[in-house]
Symmetry: C2
Subunit: 405 residues, 2 copies
């Protein structure tokens, strides 16, 4: 067994692992696969048309269905969410200066700024939303500031009204990395309707997936036209290139898979809601385990199920629990640790100083994302919850024992 | 009928069109589709593994098979060729200054420099290779020059030895956009083995396709490791980000299609060779039609079949022939017209001046790519050739008539 750094009580964990270890690895997420026969029928159409990409009929049908399902007016499909983010920035001509962003995110958010020659300015997060803390944004705005790039981490909405207000006062654009926020509703609207542009990811680890893929949502048709040209090399027509575009196109194969996923998405989301409710019930009251409360007026789709571990009360650190779960064949993930601001390519920035980001630092050391996906057996949620409860008991018993020895 | 601008002889063209018009549109290219059942068998494996991307087993198998087929040592698959080119530049840290490149190419080549914050310096092309003219490169090298970005246009090799020599003298990197050069051999080696990095495109219009897709070929394992990290967000392991990467990953669906295509590639190339030979035979001797001679010591795979139209001798311009062919349901393409240097985003650069690029200007006004692909009926090549021969006869008859009237 991997050393959990718990010394004498290791035997007690060995007992817990022996009793609870799952026969097969449970990953933090798995895609729900559509009916293969249905997918093959769609492929037959591709085989007949021999049009493999370049805004084919399946691509256009998926755009239409997503617009309707998500309740947004203008949506463009992409090869992946990262390229959508590069294009979002370029669409707004954010290709110099600074952008205020969160350090508590997947690397793609920050890297998109690098590719658009923009310097990230890291802003600390709010301990409740886990997203950009609006009260700390304004002090970071200077003459070079071009935009605010927020992330709806785990699909939890940023404080979009406060961010909008600040952006409006200071004349800044707002872009949201909504990679986790597929289908999330906020105040009875799509969360994607906030800000100038939002991007989605349809990566294989997302609740709606096209294997690789993504989308860009914006509010005007003019902007969508510009985005569509940028994702297709800036080509306006056979003989006109209007700007330095890129290849951001989604193929017909990806679109076909997306169309099949659309048929499953209702069940996928309701299954995740049930699993999240079960986790909340079973983990409630375990000392040192905090489940971030849902953001008010939000209908979540539970792309992730993060918990925060307070090592003092729980009796073991997040990293120790992570290892223990692995020993039990449960592959939880430390999303998002370490902070992207600590990566060597950003750590020399003044805004990357850890003392400037105390909440993000703390959360990144406490957070653990537990397995959640539509086809996850509720019994597995039960086992995971029992392991966590058991770990706390063993760990604090050890502490108590040491205290009295 | 669209006005060809030929005045009185329009009726003669009407007759030609009536006799030769094809019942269905023939595009410049069509993908050869693999056996659908075979593809579905590969999909069954994906359905079982539920691993949709992130260097899955099919991805790795395709990398291996391509390495062997192409005869190269280090190859990384990509979501598309454009992102491969962005990563190629970043892998060599070419992200400032100037790069010497050709104006006679698809926009992606030049745009890749934009995304890497590099200024293109356009160099005229050689009238024989249709690629970078090595004798004009050195005068463009200045203190800001970082690299030479050549394109093996239509799969025709650049003068790789001369370019290597110049690069070596001046300490420059060499990158080749080999989007058209799948399988091309030069002096008994893979053409991809020249330069520091070459990139391939597997777009739906290419002779080997994964719908969208591409690859990067480089000469050392260290570089391949860096490339692989850059295409995956710079992630080295679960907790380490080593640099500002991007998402350039190819999915398992793309890889599966590529594996199926591998089984067809031999026939695809030999069919293209036969069609190219037929075109050469049937178009030989038509006044004003020039078929660029194969580059010596090159085994071509005929990704494209370009011809050059000398309007004076042919009796009509390239644009007029283009329209006439469309009227006959033959969708030839003006690859590459206009020059990318003339796009508004580049036209103000000193090196974009048309007087600086006389050969490229002339070729771009003369070139027309005729349909070529493995499943193209040789009879269609016959019809296309007859239309071109007939057009020349009608057009010069008109000229003769006008000259004597």
């Amino acid at each position: 067994m991997t050393d959990l750094g718990l010394g004498k009580v290791a035997n007690d964990f060995a007992d817990l692992i022996r009793r609870r270890k799952l026969p097969e690895v449970v990953y933090v997420t798995r895609p729900t696969m559509p009916n293969l026969e249905g997918y093959v029928q769609m492929l037959a159409g591709i085989w007949e048309r021999k049009l493999l990409t370049n805004q084919g009929p399946l691509h256009n049908e998926l755009e239409e269905k997503l617009r309707s399902f998500l309740g947004v007016e203008h949506l463009s499909l992409f090869c992946n969410g990262t390229i959508a983010l590069l294009v979002a920035l370029e669409a707004l001509r954010i290709n110099s200066g600074e952008v205020i962003t969160t350090p508590f995110t997947f690397p793609a958010t920050t890297h998109s700024l690098y590719w658009n020659r923009v310097r990230p300015v890291f802003c600390d997060i709010d301990p409740v939303t886990l997203n950009l803390d609006p009260s700390k944004i304004e002090r970071l705005i200077g003459p070079d500031t071009r935009a605010i790039l927020g992330v709806h981490v785990y699909g939890r909405p940023c404080d979009v009204e406060a961010i909008d207000r600040i952006a409006s006062i200071h004349g800044l654009n707002v872009i949201y990395d909504a990679a986790h926020a597929f289908g999330v509703r906020y105040k009875n609207n799509s969360l994607l309707s906030y800000g100038d542009i939002s991007i989605l990811s349809f990566h294989g680890t997302k609740l709606f997936t096209t294997a690789e893929g993504g989308a860009l949502v914006c509010s005007t048709n003019d902007r969508r036209q510009r985005v569509n040209s940028l994702k297709n090399f800036g080509i306006a027509d056979e003989e006109t290139v209007i700007g330095p575009g890129i290849n951001g196109k989604m193929s017909e194969f990806q679109a076909a898979f997306g169309l099949m996923q659309m048929e499953l998405i209702g069940d996928e989301i309701s299954n995740r809601r049930n699993l999240a409710a079960l986790y909340k019930e079973l983990l409630a009251g375990i000392p040192g385990i905090q489940i971030p409360a849902d953001v008010p007026e939000t209908v979540s789709t539970y792309a992730y199920f993060p918990v925060l571990i307070d090592a003092t009360r729980f009796g073991m650190t997040r990293d120790q629990l992570f290892v223990l779960l692995r020993e039990c064949n449960i592959f939880a993930r430390k999303y998002f640790y370490p902070l992207i601001s600590s990566a060597s390519c950003y750590s020399a920035l003044p805004s990357a100083t850890t003392s400037h980001l105390p909440v993000a630092e703390r959360i990144s050391r406490q957070v653990l994302c537990l397995p959640i996906y539509g086809s996850l057996d509720p019994q597995t949620v039960g086992v995971i919850s029992k392991i966590i409860a058991g770990a706390q008991e063993v760990a604090t018993r050890g502490t108590a024992a040491r205290a009295t020895s």
